[in-house]
């Protein structure tokens, strides 16, 4: 329960269902809460998600991890619910529930039989404003998140490496701070820190309700008005503006050594534009570029580095286009035994240079688009994935129209668009961080 999304660095887009066909109804309550209803009557189940437009990148300085900490604390009690009663009630009703935190959002969801939706709304709306926390809750749950960090980050050299790379990538923006928090700040997180974040961001005018499944939009509206509509808006909700990046003027390199590293590899990240509302074309081209260069066995990096020259045992490209602010485009190469990181990097750079010169074929683009379309079928089978897609898009600066337009925008990307995006991206050495992770020192 309560998973933590590892976020920007290894999150990339593959599935792109044709949302334009979704049976989606949207409306807003008088208090400013947005509601999205996705009808799917194939099975008598419903998914309720509440998404807050607040994630780790909305935290104040010095309290990193408080967004995720609060996500844990929301499973404590309210004025009418005992600690733990929320999830126990969901389970007793045959459902499952979970929550997750990322840079740009915190989300809570339950999947239950459709006739239990009212109970879910009653409970979820209750903890939006009636959370009861005491010092004891802080002490016990803080130990839990610190242990979570130990397991996910401290015991994982790659995760520590990604944190250092992220901090080097972002000179000013809060995306350089890990979602789970810096260890030295987590240990000092207090009741006041949690309540300050809760009282600032947990309010209907900062939330999106997504209900997907065997429901009727009119019925959802009635229930939403009954349970969420009575909660007053927070008149002091701050404008959602974060400190943006300055011009990045110097290429950076980092060298992370950890005796636990079994397999050295290199990763390069470039600062890259994200999907903006009404302006997703560049991000669509970068999405296709990541697939052309580095997704799967037929990608260009794979063909050149694994099959032709056998320099690498793995290579990949990832682009996380869904992001409120500037995101990254990442390249990874794991060299073959006896190949140094320097040689692997040189080979990677040669592949990129060759790609910029030679381009790629229309056939390759068509093949990738076929894969993209195929992934829609899978995505539409899963009502949770659909709900998730809307929640993520809406909390990261997009509209329902943007989300629905995305498959068509991807479909219209041309070879020239991809090459133009590639030339822009790879010309920006100053926006890049190249990281080596090794078990011991390498010659630089």
């Amino acid at each position: 329960m309560r998973n933590w999304l590892s976020g920007l660095y290894f999150c990339f887009l593959v599935a792109t269902p044709a949302f334009a066909d979704d049976a989606v109804t949207t409306f807003s309550l008088d208090n400013g809460m947005d509601v999205v209803v996705i009808e799917d009557h194939r099975a008598p189940v419903v998914v309720q998600m509440v998404w807050y437009r607040a994630g780790s990148a909305d935290e104040k300085p010095g309290v990193s991890g408080v967004a995720h900490f609060l996500e844990h604390l929301l499973f404590k009690g309210t004025e009418t619910m005992e600690p733990g009663e929320f999830s126990a009630t969901v389970a007793r009703n045959g459902g499952s529930d979970n929550a997750f935190t990322s840079y740009d959002y915190t989300a809570y969801f339950q999947r239950v039989a459709a006739d239990r939706l009212e109970l879910m709304m009653k409970m979820e709306s209750d903890r939006m404003v009636n959370l009861q926390l005491d010092e004891e809750d802080i002490l016990t749950e803080r130990d839990v998140i610190i242990e979570e960090r130990n397991q996910r980050i401290e015991n994982n050299p790659s995760a520590l490496f990604r944190e250092q790379q992220g901090a080097a990538q972002y000179l000013n923006h809060r995306y350089g701070v890990p979602i789970i928090g810096w260890q030295h700040e987590m240990v000092d997180l207090s009741l006041d820190d949690a309540l300050d974040y809760y009282q600032t961001y947990y309010a209907p005018n900062n939330a999106i309700l997504v209900v997907a499944g065997d429901v009727d939009p009119g019925q959802v509206r009635d229930l939403a008005e009954t349970y969420y509509g009575v909660i007053p808006a927070n008149p002091d909700l701050p404008e959602r503006t974060r400190a943006q990046e300055p011009r990045q003027l110097a290429e950076r390199r980092i060298y992370y050594q950890d005796a636990r590293v079994a397999q050295p590899y290199l990763q390069r990240s470039y600062l890259a534009p994200e999907r903006d509302s009404g302006d997703q074309e560049k991000a669509a081209a970068l999405t296709i570029l990541a697939e052309v260069l580095g997704d799967g066995t037929t990608s260009i990096l794979n063909e050149k580095l694994q099959f032709d020259s056998r320099v690498a045992v793995y290579s990949g490209a990832y682009y996380g286009g869904l992001s409120l602010d500037d995101t990254t485009f990442n390249l990874t190469v794991v060299p073959a035994p006896d190949v140094t990181l320097e040689d692997a990097e040189k080979a990677m750079d040669d592949v990129i240079a060759g790609f910029l010169e030679d381009g790629f074929s229309q056939e390759r683009l068509d093949r990738i688009k076929t894969q993209v379309r195929a992934s829609e079928i899978y995505a539409r089978d899963d009502v949770s994935a659909l709900a998730n897609r809307y929640g993520r898009g809406l909390t990261q600066g997009l509209t329902v129209e943007d989300i629905q337009a995305w498959p068509d925008i991807l479909e219209q990307v041309t070879v020239d668009d991809v090459m133009a995006a590639a030339r822009d991206l790879f010309a920006q050495d100053n926006n890049s961080v190249t990281g080596y992770i090794t078990a011991q020192e390498v010659t630089q």
Copy 2:
């Protein structure tokens, strides 16, 4: 007027007068304002300084430069003074005035004939709380600070390089953001931003009055009570805690290219401890280390790199020990013509390695201490420098006792202390950033 202190990166300690002999009187007003009086009756002049325990590192995210911007705006009018009248009045009374902003403080001072002290206090206490600003002031003065940035930073490749290096050095702490501000944030600084900073930090309980010169402590106390003592404390003054650095786990390198660079060079910075109250010994050893390694023509880097191997045309080491939070220790090498940056760096690393092995002589330490003592004579001649020393120390976490104890602490540093500090420092590759600045791309 209104100089901007370039701050951490090129600020280092040389002069170390024996403050224990200073005729210093300290007291606090009932509203929490601290007062330091330094008597010096050799000339009928007085220096008044007001130091705020607030600098650029106390700014909120997204408004970098607002501390320095407000420093400019303090020369606008109050309820009883016209814009510009402050400095005009000082000048008409035969005095001079100025102000400066750094990471940890903002300070205002006037130097006038001793009988004008009351007038200075009247004006300085007035603008502590009665500043009158309008949108027009913001527009005109914002252009001034943007132009100041253009001149000092944008037109100076070394300054741009230092900004990028500072941002790479600090992963979490606000010292990674330039004092003058990121250009893209400066252009949006607003009246609200300036007033928010002013109302938060400009208050007697966040200020230190330093009066140095031909004055009597009793008279200063009477005047201070009359003018500053009547201003209420700010009950909402925030605790002075900033986001601290996480463990730095990966050595970093940056490559800054700028066609305007006439002479390439390299700079390496290490995160290093600063002078802490009651705990200045480590900082004293690092202060001496910087002098041993890199200050002046007889330093070890100089001897080895300029005279022996002729690899460099300049080398230096700098340590900025006065800092509220973690500071840096910096090495710089400017290679001779035909020597690459890589070779120069290798030569620098060899000198450091040799130094760690061989140490240095007691004679060298004695010579440095003689220089340190000699610099006292010069420093004590200048009443402004004395006032400055107390203001800087008191706003950066030290007490009057710490400031007065510093020369003795420096005096007691041994060769072993310096070598222990050097071993600690240079073992921390993961705390370091090595930067190359060139006119064009270098092989990495």
